[in-house]
Symmetry: C2
Subunit: 251 residues, 2 copies
């Protein structure tokens, strides 16, 4: 850091203008010669949850679908949710480079763990909703992902024909993708599988936004228990798919 | 938005001081009456990768261990990596409320999918490293997590005694946690299991930082293939643990 930077970073940023760009505690507005100027110092984060305004799930779905072809699933969903908020609200959303979330692709760099769409939805929700609400929203999205015949979304200009829908019974990329591939008779590398995942990104982004919009309207209610409350440990709901015998629960 | 906010948001922020607080394209520095002032408008994101300076893996480990007891695994690792950068570099890291990443807890709100420590490491790395490097770093961390007798970290003031280490052979929370619980004869709710996960958060955060420091020093090399290059689909490396018979690979 040079001396100018130190001077800046010591002073801190405070905006009179509230939630606008850099968070309530972020930027101090100074009027000088007709110009609005601010003194800068320690840039502070905007406290969570970040301001949320309802966005259009259809717009979200389209952005997510297109986003999949730019940087795959995790980026696609994060972009579908956060880009409209960057446009509508600006900061703090506009400070967040959504590209940074693309490593969730393929269940995290191809490891087939959590579906990247759900990782993107989880991280975006974490900034938008208060913790207790976000937890329930993500729980509902995980369940919907697992239970629903997907994909639902039909793009205006599809890149491939996707006729088959399937139920994953799991939020894991490996299970979800390969059940679809087997049922559709398509390979992982096929244009159809790729478009299935792009459509699914649109579905997850839109569904997450619908729940967040409900919450914004005071209509979001969830009675769904989280897995540890059911099983006494973390897990998904399809035990028998991996376990031929469920291990004894300890303690 | 009121008119002041509009004025601000139209003008944009540009910092002469470069990487300091809000990104190269973010804040324009104006010197006036001995004060450094900036005009504000559309707050822009700092382009990726964000500036990185080597940090101390031991400090990271301690922050992650303590962080686990504040908000669990995903927050713990993200905090262990990002808090030292917030302190050392400031913006853009200081604009990111790390609390937003806590929904990764318990394999994402208790679903036992990706270990939350790995989710935290993935998201943090996504901001720090260029995409191609980040992908390899996360791939290495996932492999190390799966192959290594963990936990390694020993806290100065442990909250519980953790004698047993175990190899998960998987990056999934459910598998990793329950293999440890079975081997240690401890329940999911026990203080020992909790401390095992807190120590593991310290390990993953520190290991990620060591790889990032190597990269900063020009010493990071990875020849590890990502799973799709090996299997033709996304997946982890322990197929037989879930599959009694590997399904035919299609196409």
């Amino acid at each position: 850091m040079n001396s100018d930077e130190k001077k800046l970073s010591r002073r801190g940023i405070i905006v009179g203008a509230g939630k606008l760009a850099l968070g309530a505690a972020g930027i101090a507005l100074v009027s000088s010669g007709g110009q609005n100027l601010v003194s800068i110092a320690e840039a502070k984060e905007t406290p969570l949850p970040w301001p949320y305004e309802k966005i259009d799930p259809e717009e979200t779905a389209k952005i997510a679908y297109d986003g999949w072809y730019k940087a795959y699933c995790s980026y696609a969903v994060a972009s579908g949710i956060l880009t409209p908020l960057q446009n509508k609200i600006g900061g703090p959303y506009s400070m967040l480079p959504v590209d940074g979330l693309r490593l969730g692709e393929g269940g995290i760099v191809g490891w087939g763990t959590i579906c990247g769409t759900l990782l993107g939805a989880t991280v975006a929700t974490g900034f938008i909703a208060p913790y207790d609400v976000g937890k329930q929203v993500v729980n509902e999205v995980m369940q919907w992902y697992s239970d629903t015949q997907l994909p639902v979304f039909t793009p205006e200009k599809p890149k491939a024909e996707v006729r088959l829908k399937s139920v994953s019974n799991s939020p894991l990329c490996h299970i979800s993708v390969n059940k679809w591939c087997q049922a559709a008779g398509k390979s992982f590398g096929s244009p159809e599988r790729r478009d299935r995942c792009a459509r699914l990104a649109a579905d997850i982004a839109a569904h997450t936004v619908m729940l967040l919009n409900d919450w914004k309207d005071g209509k979001f209610v969830s009675t769904l228990k989280m897995p540890p409350a059911l099983y006494g440990t973390t897990g998904q709901h399809n035990c028998n798919e991996c376990h031929t015998k469920i291990p004894d629960v300890i303690g």
